[in-house]
């Protein structure tokens, strides 16, 4: 049993035009009588529009009150099916459903409900405003849920660790024919390189120095090639290891276009060793080496005083086979990019930069990972884009109406001390970064 696709409704975008209802009535009844549509838009322009539609409940009341066995949930498709041959038109299902998801169709005298049009609902493409969407995120779960997790269970990550989630997904996708390099940082720190002669992975893994990860991995890949074996060479490194001391070997490997996939897990600091700042730590952030307090010499200390280095943009300037930024709050986007990066790494250097909120070092509750990751994108603090030499740089999830950056900053403790000046500095940087990446996107596509 998997998870299912659903039709999602964004009330903000609906203007009540009724095109969805016309499309449904046409598809299901061959008429344009919207009263017979199985998707019903209620409400008005003043107070907003609302939706009545079968939710294909997991524990459906309509099914439990049907005396005729005419309704049943199909656990393969997730759809609650109606069997007209068994239905006795008693209407009890309409009394059972609290969502008006099954109702009398006056045209036939029988009840009617959404059947998801065999997976391609007619209403969704009919909406001219994008208010209806077929949400297919569950596909990832359905597809990878049964794949083998190639990390051992019981890694010692912090509670709610985003990096653990990310690396497990990544290795699952890259697959068993992989050699993994992981330099000092949270990834080996939680046990993936193992203890006492056993590893925490089910693929060959090694633990290079912070400085030489890309170089070692490139060498290993070349040796495999020499002996005629096709393997994926994957590095999962922290931002410190990649942007600071490891940068020289990373840049070298990218310049030589080595056939490896280098993933950076950017938690914006050396979190594993006690939350020191890195060159990826953003301006104003508290870390153990950019403290908040009295400071010295009459200069109060207010977090990091420099802006973060934009490592993925630097990688674009290596003209790699593939460069992309990603976030675990947007898994479909991430998987898409992972697929492209795997393919690109067979031709040359592929680089993936994933923003990975750190519950311990950023100071937010352990259940807020996705929320923090999402807010970063919704405020444009983090931008999701991809680059390849042929198509240039393109946004994959442009945010047209970003939230103010304070929505992101206030989600965690490491920014709690910020002064209004510091906040306006950060907001200014967000605007500047966006303009910069936009320019690159235009230049590249021109």
């Amino acid at each position: 049993m998997g998870a299912y696709n659903t039709i999602a409704f964004d009330a903000e975008k609906c203007d009540g035009c009724g095109d969805c209802m016309t499309a449904c009535a046409t598809a299901k009844t061959g008429t344009t009588e919207i009263s017979r549509s199985r998707i019903q838009i209620a409400g008005n322009a003043a107070e907003g529009f609302e939706l009545a539609l079968c939710r294909q409940c997991g524990d459906p009341k309509c099914v439990t009150v049907c005396p005729a066995g005419a309704l049943g949930k199909d656990y393969a498709s997730g759809v609650i099916d109606w069997d007209g041959g068994k239905c006795v038109d008693c209407l009890l299902c309409t009394v059972g459903c609290a969502y008006a998801g099954i109702a009398l169709d006056a045209g036939t005298g029988h009840v009617a409900k959404c059947d998801m049009c065999d997976g391609a609902p007619a209403c969704v493409p009919a909406c001219p405003h994008g208010a209806l969407k077929l949400v297919t995120t569950s596909r990832i779960y359905n597809e990878v849920g049964n794949w083998e997790d190639l990390f051992a269970p019981g890694l010692a990550g912090c509670q709610g660790c985003n990096t653990e989630l990310l690396m497990r997904h990544t290795l699952r996708r890259v697959g068993p024919e992989t050699v993994l390099a992981t330099p000092p940082g949270c990834v080996p720190g939680m046990g993936s390189v193992g203890f006492n002669g056993t590893t925490g992975t089910k693929v060959p893994v090694f633990h290079p120095l912070l400085t030489n990860t890309a170089a070692m991995l490139a060498g290993i890949k070349r040796q495999y090639k020499r002996v005629g074996r096709e393997v994926n060479a994957l590095a999962i490194a922290g931002d410190g290891g990649a942007s600071d001391v490891g940068f020289q070997s990373l840049s070298g490997a990218a310049e030589r276009n080595e056939q490896i996939l280098f993933m950076v897990v950017d938690n914006e600091g050396y979190m594993n060793t006690g939350m020191q700042r890195s060159s990826c730590t953003p301006y104003g952030a508290w870390t153990s080496t950019t403290p908040v307090g009295q400071g010295s010499g009459g200069m109060p200390s207010q977090g990091k005083t420099q802006d973060a280095k934009n490592l993925p943009l630097i990688m674009v300037n290596h003209r790699c086979e593939y460069v992309a930024t990603a976030s675990t709050a947007y898994m479909e986007d991430l998987y898409d990019k992972l697929d492209k990066a795997i393919q690109a790494s067979k031709r040359g250097f592929a680089y993936l930069h994933v923003y990975s909120p750190c519950t311990t070092g950023w100071r937010f509750p352990t259940d807020q990972n996705m929320e923090v990751a999402r807010k970063a994108v919704e405020t444009n603090f983090v931008m999701l884009w991809e680059y390849n030499p042929r198509d240039g740089l393109q946004f994959t999830r442009p945010v047209d109406q970003p939230l103010p950056v304070t929505e992101y900053l206030k989600a965690m403790g490491r920014f709690r001390h910020l002064s209004p000046d510091q906040i306006s500095h950060i907001q200014g940087k967000v605007v500047e970064n966006l303009a910069f990446v936009k320019q690159m996107a235009q230049r590249q596509s021109a």
Binding site: A11, Q40, A42, G43, E47, E50, L51, A52, K61, T64, V65, P67, A68, G69, G85, K86, V88, D89, C90, L91, L92, T94, V95, G96, C97, A98, Y99, A100, A103, L104, A106, G109
Partner: protein
């Protein structure tokens, strides 16, 4: 002696929902389902359609053997509970054998109540509660030329319609002053009555049968006012009584039914009850009531199952809300909530004679208490939530009455989307 962790007695809506709820929380604990019926589970509510021939008797089952195997439920059909020995947690069956249980659910539903009319035991008559009743009645209807139905509740009315459609002359005898008393008000009942008389049925409301005796045709009925009726088919549909004989002499408290609290527990430990046999709190009154309808049986069964399995997701029973739907001669009637108008309550009705559309709503302090429609479709489930949530409708009342369907959906989307 056989042993089981969970013993569920009955195999209809309340029992099946309890099984689902138990298995949701406890996938392994031994579970046994007993039913005195010989068939796979089915709903009494579908039986009028077996009588009419619309539903094939072998296509109405709600679960199959595979379901029970998959859910690790031992199903014993044709096995009646005779006595419950609560002092030693044992169920005695009709054949004298016993089953030891840790927890038992009594979901034994109801059986037709047979009125004490003099001579009733001298004539043959039909009732409708089991599949076997329905197949017998289905055969009899085809032969009938003049039929009498005692009782104008929904069961009687359904059967009467089937008889009319099969070509019999049908008389419905009802003690109350109107048809479908307790389900629909006088106006709605009038619409229903007219549909029946237009189709040739005779309806005698406010009439009581005082004597029954065998006759050449079948049975002869004498009414209080002296009128005599002959019937080749007599259907007794004068109400139901809960099945709880097996509690005779036990400590389990009973009134009109088996008395239960808000998680369907009885007065005795390890014993729960749900459905038509249980008497639980009403939504409109704290007094315990019989609310013998399918949706409530399912709801109560689910609650009982969760309570028995110790599911922490259990929420207390909000109290029974009457809900009824009724199809007659191509028309439909829906009633949700209370039909009683309390002191300070307000009744609004709307009737369009030409289309036969009728709507009635009862409010108190801006909140909906009950809503009835004939040929006026609205989402009963949405209405029920408006009642249960005691939503104040003062601000939208006009719109609501003009179009309960659209307004209900709007409110639903805002309040519990």
């Amino acid at each position: 002696m056989e042993q089981t962790k969970y013993l569920v007695v009955g195999s209809s809506h309340a029992a099946l929902e309890a099984v689902t709820a138990i298995r949701m929380h406890d996938t392994e604990g031994s579970l046994m389902l007993l039913t005195r019926d010989p068939h796979l589970p089915y709903s009494p509510t579908v039986l009028p359609y077996v009588v009419s021939g619309r539903s094939a008797p072998d296509a109405i089952f709600l679960r199959d053997e595979k379901f029970f195997a998959r859910q690790k439920v031992q199903l014993k059909r044709g096995t009646a509970l005779k006595a419950l020995h609560v002092e030693r947690n044992a169920a005695e069956l009709a054949d004298g054998s016993e089953i030891a249980y840790e927890k038992v659910l009594l979901a034994t539903g109801a059986s037709p109540a047979i009125p004490p009319i003099p001579g009733i035991d001298t004539v043959s008559y039909h009732v409708l509660r089991t599949l076997d009743d329905a197949t017998k009645l289905n055969a009899a209807i085809k032969q009938s030329k003049q039929a009498v139905v005692l009782g104008a509740g929904l069961v009687g009315m359904h059967a009467a319609e089937n008889l009319v459609k099969a070509g019999a002359r049908v008389t419905i005898v009802e003690m109350a002053k109107q048809l479908t008393d307790g389900y629909f008000d006088t106006t709605a009942a009038g619409l229903i009555e007219k549909a029946f008389t237009d189709n040739g049925a005779t309806i005698l409301t406010g009439s009581r049968v005082v004597k029954l005796e065998p006759s050449a045709v079948g049975a002869k009925l004498t009414l209080e006012n002296g009128t005599a009726l002959e019937a080749d088919l007599l259907l007794v549909a004068t109400g139901v009584r809960p099945n709880m004989d097996f509690l005779a002499g036990s400590r389990v408290e009973q009134d009109k039914g088996i008395l239960v609290g808000d998680s369907m527990q009885t007065s005795v430990a390890n014993v729960w009850s749900a459905g038509d046999c249980a008497q639980a709190r009403g939504f409109f009154t704290d007094a315990k009531v019989m609310n013998a309808i399918l949706p409530d049986a399912a709801e109560q069964g689910r609650i009982a199952g969760m309570a028995m399995a110790g599911d922490p997701g259990l929420k207390a029973y909000p109290g029974g809300v009457p809900l009824n739907t009724y199809h007659f001669f191509g028309r439909h009637a829906i009633s949700v909530g209370s039909s009683r108008v309390p002191e300070g309550g307000e009744v609004v009705t709307r009737f369009d004679e030409a289309s036969g559309r009728y709507l009635k709503a009862i409010f108190k302090d801006g909140c909906l208490l009950g809503i009835y429609g004939v040929n006026e479709f609205f989402d009963g489930g949405v209405m029920c939530q408006l009642i249960l949530r005691r939503v104040d409708l003062s601000a939208v009342k006009e719109r609501f009455l003009a179009n309960p369907l659209a307004t209900g959906r709007e409110l639903m989307s805002k309040l519990w989307r």
